[in-house]
């Protein structure tokens, strides 16, 4: 029997116009945690989709599972062979209960008429949940759960299926650090049980923490496979992007100007309460906190998508009444949402159409009709300045990789020339190279006089990019500090409301807190 549970060699995948994978190799040993890394668009997700049978690779590749020709052409084949894939966007059924979500798929195909024994179904689910040390009501519908809990359900399902290989595509991007630790423990348990894990993430620290070996892809090509001990972070970054990148802490004191934007007494029932803060010219303000602390809701209320119950906002000394995104945009406020594929982009439409959507009214000729030349020029300008690849303005946005999609969203708002930009998890699922580009871009915007508020759960990012930090917890701003005075521990203490230990199955936090002056 081969050492390797998975052997993929000479894998190529061509999409119309794009060679997403070019002679790529991925070999995973039994019981190892194997990281798959690469920049946005490097082909990681595509490789996983080939592995899962969603895409068939071009002819000529070799794909062995447990030493045998895999013969996987649809997801079902992979499932039956013991491959479980936890996609970044999860694969749950919001309308079904936890127990059903864990159970479903089992035998569904072979024995559709099998009678469901709700008792044994729950037994099975319970067992998997226990292994993960989780306590969630099995009858609860999944739509009622937090993202972190949902993530764990996916893992429980993989366990319940007796999987031999579990693929996790950016599993930590929506988890709080406590939850991430928990996930690490789960991965350690999987390893002990001889289950192999493929782990995709853009967070290098994390990769070094959990994985045994790493495979690096760049621009659809195979760069190499390394043991975690053979390589350090800097070398890895160089392999990924082909150059050296530094991701360093912001230690400069910002050159802060006058107050440009303020929020007073902002409250919305069940979302956030008593929010007061201001933003000055020349600074990047970060809002951080745990997932579910109400940051996104706050941002979306400022942007007018969900109206706040009370409170006022002032921009450049003017009181604004904003009751819709349209009002916000008219008043120069832009918001880049965290849910890129749902809220950020119209995936089925072209890059041009996306980029010019907020400003389309200004791109009209004297007949009040869209001037396609101006439109194209504008788009090309941003494609160039943001280095969107491939640089095809007519390409549908869903054909771009995650990072390039985010660039399109940013380009869209740059074209609108906002006075204030709120950007929610700006680098979620984006590789290092693109990350630093985006960070530079934010700085450039601030220098040009645009106010920038950045919401991020990624503390290194917060510490590197922002000038001032607000920490939110359970719907309130519980702390404020200048970035030069901040460190990760300080922030986490506030975010977690001290007494650190949190349960994944329960995002409530006990009530001892260290109060920071606001």
């Amino acid at each position: 029997m081969s050492d390797y549970i998975l052997e993929m060699e000479h894998i190529s995948k061509t999409f119309p116009g794009v060679k997403a994978l070019d002679n790529v190799e991925l070999k995973v040993k039994r019981g190892e945690v194997h990281a798959l890394i690469g920049e946005n668009g490097a082909g990681k997700s595509t490789l996983i989709k080939v592995l899962a049978g969603i895409h068939d690779a071009d002819a000529g590749g070799k794909y062995l599972f447990e030493g045998e020709e895999a013969d996987i052409h649809q997801p079902l084949d992979a499932t039956l062979k013991g491959i479980s894939i936890i996609y970044q966007d999860l694969s749950l059924f919001p309308n079904l209960s936890v127990a059903e979500n864990i159970y479903i798929g089992r035998d569904s195909n072979k024995k559709p008429w099998k009678k469901i024994n709700w008792k044994s179904m729950k037994g099975l689910a319970e067992k998997a949940m226990n292994e993960l040390d989780m306590d969630i009501d099995l009858n609860k519908k999944v739509e009622l759960l937090s993202i972190a809990q949902q993530q764990m359900i996916e893992i429980a399902r993989a366990l319940a299926f007796d999987s031999k290989l579990i693929v996790m595509d950016e599993p930590t991007s929506s988890l709080s650090s406590g939850e991430v630790e928990k996930l690490y423990k789960v991965i350690d348990t999987l390893k002990e049980r001889g289950i192999s894990v493929i782990f995709i993430s853009h967070k290098l620290k994390e990769l070094f923490r959990v994985s045994d070996r790493l495979t690096v892809l760049r621009d659809g090509q195979y760069v190499g496979t390394y043991g975690v001990n053979e390589i350090n972070e800097q070398e890895l970054i160089k392999l990924m992007v082909g150059r050296e990148v530094v991701y360093e802490r912001n230690t400069e004191k910002a050159d802060i100007g006058e107050k440009m934007f303020e929020v007073n007494n902002f409250s919305k029932e069940g979302n956030f309460k008593d929010i007061n803060f201001s933003l000055h010219k020349g600074e990047i303000l970060a809002i951080t906190g745990l997932v579910g602390s109400g940051r996104t809701e706050l941002a979306q209320s400022i942007f007018g998508v969900n109206k706040a119950d009370q409170g006022t906002i002032r921009l450049n000394g003017e009181d604004l009444t904003i009751s819709s995104a349209e009002d916000a945009v008219k008043n120069g406020i832009a918001y880049i949402p965290e849910a890129r594929q749902v809220q950020g982009l119209v995936l089925g439409q072209s890059v041009v159409n996306n980029m010019t959507l907020p400003v389309i009214d200004t791109l009209r000729n004297k007949f009040k009709l869209i001037d396609h030349n101006i439109e194209k020029n504008l788009t090309n300008q941003y494609i160039k300045s943001l280095d969107v690849r491939p640089s095809m303005p007519d390409m549908p946005a869903d054909k771009l990789s995650g990072g390039n999609q985010q660039k399109v969203v940013i380009g869209k708002w740059l074209s609108a020339q906002p006075k204030l930009l709120i950007i929610d998890e700006p680098t979620n699922g984006i590789d290092i190279g693109a990350k630093t580009e985006i960070h530079k871009l934010l700085r450039r915007m601030v220098n040009e006089g645009i106010g920038v508020i950045m919401i991020s759960s990624e503390l290194p990012e917060v510490l590197s990019v922002s000038d001032r930090i607000l920490v939110m917890s359970r719907g309130r701003i519980e702390g404020e500090m200048n970035t030069i005075d901040a460190d990760q521990e300080k922030i986490m203490n506030i975010a977690l409301d001290t007494e650190g230990e949190k349960d994944v199955g329960n995002s409530e936090v006990s009530d001892g807190k260290s109060h920071q002056e606001v």
Binding site: F303, A325, L347, L357, P358, P396
Partner: protein, 322 residues
């Protein structure tokens, strides 16, 4: 250089093929009186199909559209039979339709009820209102001049109604492709949430969609009432499902986000040629329905296989649309 024809062009060729084929095999199909007939028959259905298509591009459907047309016709007819002039009658007819469209638009865009449900309800509702107004009777007896809209010629050769139709084809194409509203319609149809997050007021876009569809219904109603010299509760009701079929056959994505005016027009032509040709051939009218249903399914099945085929061949088709 991409030689691959767009979906719409292929459909255009099919329409042409059917036209020629019918002409060769059906005596009288190419006769000038028959061609003339077809020119008169096209606009009323074509306008409704266009209206339906615009709604479908937003991912919706308007099951009430033919009753809006009938309601609008009733409005115009009541004016004329009560001694008002043609122009005020037309205006009132259009206003009646816009009122219906606004009602649909409000429930769809403000309350957010799925269009298929709203219009399922308003279809019954509008029908009821017309029945209540007319007691089910036909209203007729319009001024002779009114008849010219549906029956008259411009410069002795081109039917006035056809000119009106062409005007609205161009208008719709320009609005959809060149106006910012049209752009928003497509964007909304593809992803309403992201569109809203881009600062687009979706309710306004939608409201205009339902208003525009009802405007087209009203124009169709004016042509129909003028052509038939009367109006009754079921005016044009047979066009309802046909118009959905034409829009979809024309390539409009029933889930929204895609749809071309020309595609719909080609589909309307195909239906017209087939109906007319088969009628001339004395084929039982029930079988004409069968043929139309079969064509719908066959064309979409062929689409499926040709997509599959071209994907397999790895031909680039998606990125070179410009």
């Amino acid at each position: 250089m991409n030689m691959k024809l767009s979906k719409e062009s292929v459909l255009g060729l099919i329409a042409l093929g059917i036209f020629v084929g019918m002409g060769l095999f059906t005596p009288g199909f190419f006769s000038s009186s028959n061609l003339n007939n077809m020119m008169f028959q096209l606009p009323e259905f074509g306008l409704i199909a266009l209206g339906m298509m615009v709604v479908i591009v937003t991912g919706g459907i308007d099951l009430s559209i033919t009753y809006i047309a009938a309601f609008s016709g009733v409005g115009a007819a009541l004016m004329m039979t009560n001694g008002f002039g043609i122009l005020p009658a037309i205006v009132v007819g259009i206003l009646f339709a816009l009122a219906c469209g606004a009602f649909n638009g409000t429930v769809v865009s403000k309350i957010g009820v799925p269009p298929i449900l709203v219009t399922l309800g308003t279809m019954v509702l509008f029908e009821g209102v017309i029945l209540a107004i007319t007691s089910g009777n036909a209203i007729s007896g319009f001024p002779d001049a009114y008849g010219l809209i549906g029956n008259g010629y411009y410069m002795g050769i081109i039917p006035v109604s056809l000119l009106i139709f062409i005007f609205f084809i161009i208008l719709t194409a320009v609005l959809l492709n060149k106006s910012t509203w049209g752009r928003r319609v497509y964007m909304y149809g593809s992803n309403d949430i992201a569109t809203m997050f881009s600062g687009v007021k979706n309710s306004k876009v939608l409201m205009k969609v339902y208003l525009y569809a009802s405007l087209l219904a009203a124009v169709s109603a004016i042509i129909m009432t003028s052509r038939y010299n009367s109006v009754k509760v079921d005016l044009g009701s047979s066009y309802l499902l046909q118009s959905v079929a034409a829009a979809v056959l024309g390539g409009t994505d029933i889930h929204g986000g895609y749809g071309k005016v020309m595609g719909t027009i080609y589909a309307v032509l195909i239906f017209q040629f087939i109906r007319n040709g088969l009628n001339l051939m004395d084929v039982h009218s029930s079988l004409v329905d069968v043929v139309i249903g079969a064509i719908l399914i066959i064309v979409l099945t062929l689409n499926f296989f040709s997509d599959k085929f071209s994907r397999r061949k790895g031909e680039s088709s998606s990125e070179k649309t410009a």
